[in-house]
Symmetry: C2
Subunit: 249 residues, 2 copies
Amino acid sequence: MTNPILEALTQHRSIRQFENKSLSPHQVTELVDAAQHASTSTFSQQYSIISVTDPAILKEIAKITGHGWMLRSGHYFVMVADQYRNLKIAQENGTDPYILHSTDKFLASVFDTAIATENIMVAAESMGLGGTIMGSILNDPRQMIKLLHLPEMTFPLLGIALGYPKDKPELKPRLPKIEFHFSNHYDLGENFDQQLLDYDQLLSDYYRSRSTNGRTETFSHHIVSELNRNHNLRADLFSIIQEQGFMAH
Amino acid sequence: MTNPILEALTQHRSIRQFENKSLSPHQVTELVDAAQHASTSTFSQQYSIISVTDPAILKEIAKITGHGWMLRSGHYFVMVADQYRNLKIAQENGTDPYILHSTDKFLASVFDTAIATENIMVAAESMGLGGTIMGSILNDPRQMIKLLHLPEMTFPLLGIALGYPKDKPELKPRLPKIEFHFSNHYDLGENFDQQLLDYDQLLSDYYRSRSTNGRTETFSHHIVSELNRNHNLRADLFSIIQEQGFMAH
């Protein structure tokens, strides 16, 4: 019942160690092509793609994200929510751009960006590449905006580090479907606590037994440690989104 | 240089006409499996999937979206941004959930939801199915929340109507890469106006010549008509997001 695409989708793992080999311009074009053919909300194509190849900019992004390993990737994309192009179209046609500044249109551009990002990842893996989607560029969007010369009505959302995989981490077990996929109504059920304990055990076994970076951690521990991070980190995200002209209403 | 997955990704079209045939439970499980194996921000698995099979709920969703054709789909998913599960984990561990209510964690759950949505679409197409991602459930999130019994810290973001395709629309041309994919710095270039005119012509030719639903429309017309919609539509989106407990700071 399976097929090569289903097989590939369920074999995804994040790759952070790469061979010393860059992607070819042709490969990059194929990835952008795959991105562009994804669904886009109301066919408004509300995102842009920036290939970062300048070593100085890459170093700055590595500093922002805290992930030095990205410097050894074979190609780096920044995926940008983008209503600037459509703002220019509105201006050239003398149309009130009010709607572009809405929460709705910001969300639409986030959908577009994330959907295209996943197409790039799936396409890359089909070409024997691997990589990691990096939300960590949000540690300092103002600096990202400066580095990439991003105009108003754009926002840097996700980085993608890609390359030829040097390792193949084990597949990380996901939440049990009974706590994740519901029928008609949202319902974690009466056995959520027990299901979570079982999953905590499963994930802890995975972390302990994996060949590299072994540790003792359950899903619950992981969530708790995420929530115990410094409250000041990314505290001004909403202000910066608004500074760029998004979510004015 | 191409491969079957690249080929499939660049052949995506939205399908809105379906054969009268439901997806099997096994197919639905495979789709959820493909979704769950996608990347998730900080491995926090911040979304849930609801299969809507109750005809009464489907009818209500068709009313909200204005898309009656979805009632003839073979399966309907609602993709839900979800920090409720993680809120319960925080509570059970006596951890301050402050960070969960941040703009950052809302964005992370939107990323997770959209990325998983695209995996479902790619997986479905690999199985000979087709469909449409529907942002139109955002026309009335309060009603969606009520229909699906969504708790605090969840938000219905996207619907997915899937089924066996009854038609095969032509591929819609995308924006020229020169206005879409940049190197190191965002730059539409000096020829944006001319590029846009060319693209407007290309898209207008596509609309005029396509076999069904032919019309005269350029990309510029399309964006302008999007912006001329009623300003009151979805005007309370941000309030509802906050009512659900998201983006408190």
